[in-house]
């Protein structure tokens, strides 16, 4: 046993070292951030930029409309997310099945995945928004855009699920069968729960991405959406500040999701 005064001495030295490290970190952070801010504030174009991007009065004037429009973003996000979670699972299960009868379906699933992972989301949304009506189908732009997002994200999420399913050892399925479960029960109670836990972080990542991509609906003329509202204000009044408002709203949703991700990851490691 180390003598008590030696221990106290070591503890004190450690505290001193920690304090010094924290102080250096704080000072350097302030210096760098402060330096950047100073750089921006003293640049010659700053007053104009401030008026065009950080116009407080205009922000206050436009924010309520943008916030109201953001409600559409949230609704689209929730509906698409639920659809993607379900369809993505279906797609993943189809691709990982081994029964010979499902071969044509498996092939189709593989083609689908390649197609919708390979084309930019904005393109799919655009094609849905302008192409489908051209075929004579009369559906609201919001729905077309939502379908476009669903098509793309189902492909991404299916791949994440697949990775998750692969990450569960085959012996788990065997143990489930050995206990008397049938294949469906084994998947539902043993394999799938583990698969989802294993890929929770990438899944959540895709959802943060989806939330942001709802903004793409703007290009097919969906009004009443936050980014679009902000764009309309900006080009009508030549003032970009509303876009900042829209950005803050997006952050308000994505940042908590990212923190949730951290919590989940920490719990996994335990």
């Amino acid at each position: 046993m180390t003598p008590p005064d030696r221990r106290a001495e070591r503890a004190a030295a450690k505290r001193r070292k920690d304090r010094r490290t924290a102080a250096i970190a704080a000072v350097s952070t302030i210096l760098v951030l402060g330096g950047l801010v100073a750089l921006v504030l003293t640049s010659p174009g700053w007053p104009d930029v401030r008026e065009t991007f950080f116009d407080a009065d205009y922000f206050a004037e436009t924010f309520p409309d943008i916030a109201r429009a953001f409600w559409l973003d949230i609704r689209v996000f929730v509906v698409v997310e639920i659809a993607v979670l379900i369809l993505g699972l279906g797609l993943a299960l189809t691709r990982t099945s081994s029964s010979p009868g499902l071969f044509p379906l498996r092939l189709l699933a593989a083609v689908y995945t390649d197609l919708f992972r390979g084309v930019p989301v904005i393109l799919v949304v655009y094609l849905m928004g302008f192409g489908i009506p051209a075929l004579g189908v009369n559906v609201e732009a919001v729905i077309l855009g939502g379908i476009g997002l669903t098509l793309c994200y189902t492909a991404y999420v299916a791949e994440v699920y697949r990775a998750g399913l692969k990450s569960v050892r085959p012996t788990q399925r065997e143990a489930a069968l050995a206990v008397g479960l049938n294949e469906r029960q084994a998947m539902r109670h043993v394999v799938l729960p583990q698969a989802v836990r294993n890929v929770g972080p990438p899944l959540l990542n895709d959802f943060i991405s989806l939330q942001k991509d709802v903004a793409l609906l703007a290009i097919i003329g969906v009004t009443g959406e936050a980014f679009r509202e902000a764009q309309i204000f900006a080009s009508t009044d030549f003032d970009y500040t509303p876009l900042l408002g829209a950005a803050l709203l997006y952050l308000a949703v994505t940042v908590p999701m990212a923190r949730l991700l951290d919590v989940w990851e920490r719990r996994q490691d335990r």
């Binding site: 012996t171 065997e174 143990a175 050995a178 206990v179 008397g180 049938n182 043993v190 836990r197």
Partner: protein
């Protein structure tokens, strides 16, 4: 001896080019404990997996309580519900509590209601010395404890027979004893068992019959005093001698 529970007739199994089982004949009677010994790769695990229909046999038949189970028309799920398997690597469900590991089979496969199932599960766990640990996740338990949970899980469904595949081979030596103790307990209950094992002393103690598997064939089979102490076949003799040299016996 009593009625046969498991009958294996002329079973062969190959993995690609490799022949693992080259024609096995074996009968396991009610309450009998059959120990299978043999070198790694001799086919012990494969045979057990074939009995539980986790592998498809190439030729021959396997019967459970007189009914053929290896026919393609037979539903494997029903067969597996009547057998219990304990794996070398325990294979517990890591996302479920110990208690739920044991109840999953009883509730989902046998339709017992949750409350009753939990009661049964607690009883069995206590019996195997795991009382008080039901709410923990498997990762918190030692290897020996996890294997005992695995035994409880297989036993909870009151199978017609239990298949134990090298259940102590993955354990640290000091943990082996508690697991063997649990198996001894099963034996005293009269559970029909097929035990693949390296533990010769244990085989001698618990088994009614010992079979030596040599390169896919059941080369010698008989009571433990014979097979383990006075083996008739040269292959068996060579195997045991090697083991003696490795001070396993």
């Amino acid at each position: 001896m009593s009625e046969p529970v498991i009958e294996i007739k002329g079973v062969t199994k190959s993995f690609g080019e490799m022949e693992v089982l080259k024609g096995i004949d074996l009968t396991v009677h009610e309450h009998e404990a059959v120990a299978l010994i043999g070198a790694s790769g001799s086919g012990k695990s494969t045979l057990l997996r074939c009995i539980d229909l986790l592998e498809e046999i190439d030729d021959g038949d396997i019967f459970l309580d007189g009914e053929v189970i290896t026919d393609p028309s037979v539903d494997p799920v029903g067969v597996r519900r009547r057998l219990g398997v304990v794996f070398q690597a325990y294979n517990l469900f890591p996302h479920l509590r110990v208690l739920d590991n044991v109840t999953l089979g009883i509730t989902r496969a046998h339709g017992v209601d949750r409350a009753k199932a939990e009661g049964q599960a607690r009883e069995i766990l206590t019996r195997f010395g795991l009382g008080g640990r039901e709410d923990e996740k498997p990762s918190r338990l030692s290897g020996g404890q996890q294997q005992r949970v695995a035994i409880a899980r297989a036993f909870a469904t009151r199978p017609r027979a239990m298949l134990l595949d090298e259940v102590t081979s993955a354990l640290d030596p000091e943990l082996v004893g508690e697991v063997l103790s649990a198996v001894r307990d099963l034996k005293s209950e009269g559970v029909t068992m097929v035990i693949a094992t390296h533990e010769m002393g244990f085989a001698r103690e618990v088994a009614d019959t010992v079979g030596y598997l040599h390169e896919g064939r059941l080369v010698e089979i008989g009571p433990p005093e014979q097979v383990l102490e006075e083996p008739q076949r040269p292959e068996t003799q060579r195997f045991l001698r090697r083991l003696l040299e490795a001070r396993r016996v």
